[in-house]
Symmetry: C6
Subunit: 249 residues, 6 copies
């Protein structure tokens, strides 16, 4: 029977029929403001509560800000960082600035996928990480879409190979219905999509599991909320939009 | 509890649940004629009324015209400029022309993001600015879309790092539903979108808060007006269009 | 209170709440056959009737043909030209041909924006022009869209700086819903759009004021006619199409 | 009062309110199979019946085939060619082949617009042409769309300057709603569009006058037929499609 | 009266009002799986039954496979090939392989249009061909769309010039509504389009004659079937889809 | 009568009227998460149960993971591999890593189509393969779409020429309605499309046979399920969407 990792996001494990199959590399895709980063941090925090060490690769935000953001939801990682059970990899500052000097894991050349993977490998080993978040993987190939598939395959080899279960945050434009391009979409073991749609003049949030290797899962688009405690998914509330029927009538 | 900056735009603070969280860098996005510049100037003027110094970075318009435009709404900044509480950074004329010679803050090479950031840093320090508007940030990468994300990240580092709360005006075409491209949309702490839609032969204005880090906010599309006193948002009037449901039926 | 320039087009000043605010640089945008040139010539002719000298920059048509076209509507400019109150700038022939030799203002290198602006500056001064039409501004950047915004900004500096109120004719394709590209749309002080739509097998004309700095204006799409006396706008007739609601359903 | 040229196509002069104003250069635009060439040849043949000499510039078809096609509709041009009242300019064969050697007007370098215009000028003078058809003008810029506007302007100068009334056949793809690109659409004095639409499983033909300088005209989409005597337009039958309402709902 | 070539496809000659006018070069266009090749082979086989020799230019398939495919429908060409009344031109193998060595007509450089035309000319003469199929013409310009029109014109000159009636198979993508590009669509004497549409979850086949020089024809979209005897067209069954009404509502 | 290969997928052989005609090269096309790989592996496993040896070309996944995935459905290939009746060709690792060293068939240069075909040829001969799966063929031309048709033709020559029946997995983006591009779509002997559509907020799976040379087949879109025993097709359940009617209304 398949071993599962609990996301700890209320309602999400239920629609995943128990959690994400261990070692899966999952694309977490959505437009701006859909809650991708919050969900990813919540996944790591839940792991810490369950005794599963984790790593957050910060490509979009200063590591200090990441910790501030987490505390905003009541997720204080300081003790876990001291105990060596949680780490932020700074792939944002290039090691420049006062704060950056206090970071343990730093990617000096922020556009080097090779260095990133080296630092990631070391951190996973030292932290004994069970969970990893890369936020965002899109940044790694923003200017070179042709390497996207290769970047994801390289990450997958390390992340899955070293036994972690991971989320790759994939940023798409507000007008883009894809998940990050064909090479990326097919390479991932799973795809979770977050959406923000305007229905009758009001924005509504939803989540849909597009694919998940190794398990069946809800096939529905579920209503989702962002609260001050993090994300809540409603397994019993379905949003009936038709984003992915490609009829052209 | 999160510290907030009042926009002073009637109705807008209400749908922001109290204002923009301090230090947020907010994208103010919209097509031509949607009222972006008016809203941004009103944000600065409101700050001056509350004793919060501000800076307007003029990339689209002559500084003299900016002040004329403000006076058209009854916002006379002369005294504030004399007291060193308000400044216009001239990133439009390149220092050429009589009027430009009287400007204190001038970006000589108008296409140099580096110089702009230097001047901006100095001005923020001297004015002790709490609020900054960059109008428009799109101009900085109009001809080089590939640097857009980087420009926004650099600005964000200075603006947020020095403690200001800021609006980056993002110009999109009348036919463009995005907010300024994926790199920009994801890098901003917040996105406010202004729209001008033709409904049954009549143009209607609306505003929607697409995302705002650090606070919940109205999820509705609100009717907005431009009056001779500036912009007014109607928290109780919702415009039921469906701009951002990407169904393709 | 804002000073206004009467367009003299029946109905148009009414929906502009009195006319175009002085010194505004207005984009007059539309597809082929929508009546842009007629409206622009009528604007100049009306000025002459009111004692306001004017200039027509001919980029699309031979100056002789321009005068012929005007006479077709009963607008005979000969006396005004003799009195030095009206001028056509020939930016079409390059000074080649018999007729061209009789023109006073000629742009020799028809693709030189610099020369065009020099000649324009001289003509405005000599004619003491209050109104200027550039027909079309699109021609100036047809093959180099990347310079569009810059061309419009340069023209704006001269036209507004020298005190004229002006119309920049912007040609768009019959299938194009924009007004001439984002750089152009945002740089103009106003946008007037003319449309020709097929409704139930019949072409109908309409006009909409998309934006106009310094004044409120009708927010409706008005029915418009081309008669043998020129253009007539119907302030009380609204065409209920939905050209600019970007719902994608 | 405007002088008009009768097209001689039954029904078409009626919806043109009497014919095409003399010296107009008219774009005759449509997809494959819409009847552009037939209408253009019929325009020339009608001229011959009225004593108005004409010229057909053959860019798509062998001159011999052009004459065969005309005879298929009962339009035998032999006598008129002998009398020097009608000419086909061979811009198709490059002068290669037996038949081509018997042609009087030949463009040797078929991709040279300059040579084409030289030959055209000579032929108009010798034939004393009142009507000219260029079939198709699209061929002249098929591989270099950027020169399209310039080609049309050059032709216009010769055709209109020498007093002829002319049709420029513009080929568009079956899926293209434009008339041949913005430069071309705006440069022409008139636009006549032919369409072939599938309505409930049946193809229907229609014609619409999009613009025509110097005259008012029907604003309706008229049903059109191709008979063995040529084209017939039905002034009293309107086809209610909505090809050119650009609502995107 | 126009001379016609019977296609021999049940129902097709009827909707063509008797057949394809002799010497016409007809584009046979459709997406994958629409039956283009079957219809083209049936056209050749019918010719053989009527004593009209034919040639199939194989650009997509091994000549051996072509014959196998024909036999699958009961069309055994062996005797006709022996009698010199039918030939397959091998433009697929480049002459490589055992089977290819037994072919009489081989294009060695499969991407040379010149060699193809040479071989074709020889074969037409030797076989005394009345009918020719080129399957597919799209292959000849797949990687160089800019030469498409020229390729079709060259083929047309040979095919029509030597008196044959021919079908040029044009492959379009399943999502493409065009017939093979503007240059190609306008150069052909006729266009026959095959479609495969999903209506309420079921695929339906249809055929429509888009244009056919020299004859009137059915203007309807007819239901079509592929049976084990070949294609059958139903002149009395119309499929009411709306593929080619370009309303964008 | 045509010889057929049973896919062994419940319901699929029924809608194929008995199976895939022997030697056909079939494109198996679909977006991410549609079940392409599962169906392809099930096709190979079914072959093994019927005594037909098979080969899986692994371009997307580590060979070890492929076997793990198969065992997840109860398809244990170990014995068959030992008996030389089943092989995985490793075109993923480039021979790097411990596990890869134990693989028998390895493509060292993973982007060499030539080497892949060499290894494939050897493997087919040694295993005496009746069935082959290439997963995915898209990978071979992801960065060079212009060679797509050629790659498929080369594979077809080997696969069909050596007597195997094969599936080429074609990955398309979630937003792509095509099957992998025109060159690929027309070159394949058959096309099976898998879809995942959101209908009223719920994802539904379906399969449709778009074309299949040598046999008639169901023309309907059938509901499909992925169970823990593999894929099940429902011949009696039709999904009424309209993905492939290209009406643009």
């Amino acid at each position: 029977m398949v071993e599962r990792v609990k996301t700890g996001v209320p309602g999400l494990d239920e629609i995943l029929n128990g959690g994400i199959p261990r070692r899966n590399v999952v694309l977490l895709s959505g437009g701006p403001g859909t809650g991708k980063t919050i969900l990813a941090l919540q996944f790591l925090w839940s792991g810490l509560q369950l005794g599963e060490p984790g790593i957050y690769v910060a490509l979009e935000e200063h590591p200090v800000q990441v910790r501030v953001n987490m505390r905003g939801f009541g997720w204080d990682t300081r003790q876990f960082e001291q105990e060596g059970k949680f780490a932020v990899i700074d792939a944002f500052t290039g090691g420049i600035g006062e704060a950056a000097k206090r970071e343990k894991y730093v990617v000096k050349e922020t556009d080097s996928v090779e260095e990133l993977i080296d630092v990631l490998r070391t951190a996973i080993r030292e932290v004994n990480a069970q969970r990893v978040v890369v936020d965002s993987v899109s940044t790694l190939y923003l200017l070179k879409p042709s390497i996207a598939r290769n970047v994801v395959l390289q990450l997958k080899k390390v992340l899955s190979g070293m036994g972690t279960t991971s989320l790759l945050v994939s940023q798409v434009s507000v007008t883009e219905r894809g998940f990050g391009g064909p090479g990326v979409e097919h390479a991932a073991d799973g795809i979770i999509r977050l959406d923000l749609d305007e229905v009758d003049g009001e924005l509504v949030r939803s989540i849909i599991i597009w694919k998940m290797r190794g398990t069946s899962h809800s096939m529905k688009r579920h209503v989702m909320e962002i609260t001050d405690k993090g994300i809540v998914v409603h397994p019993d509330k379905v949003l009936k939009t038709r984003r992915y029927v490609l009829m052209q009538e």
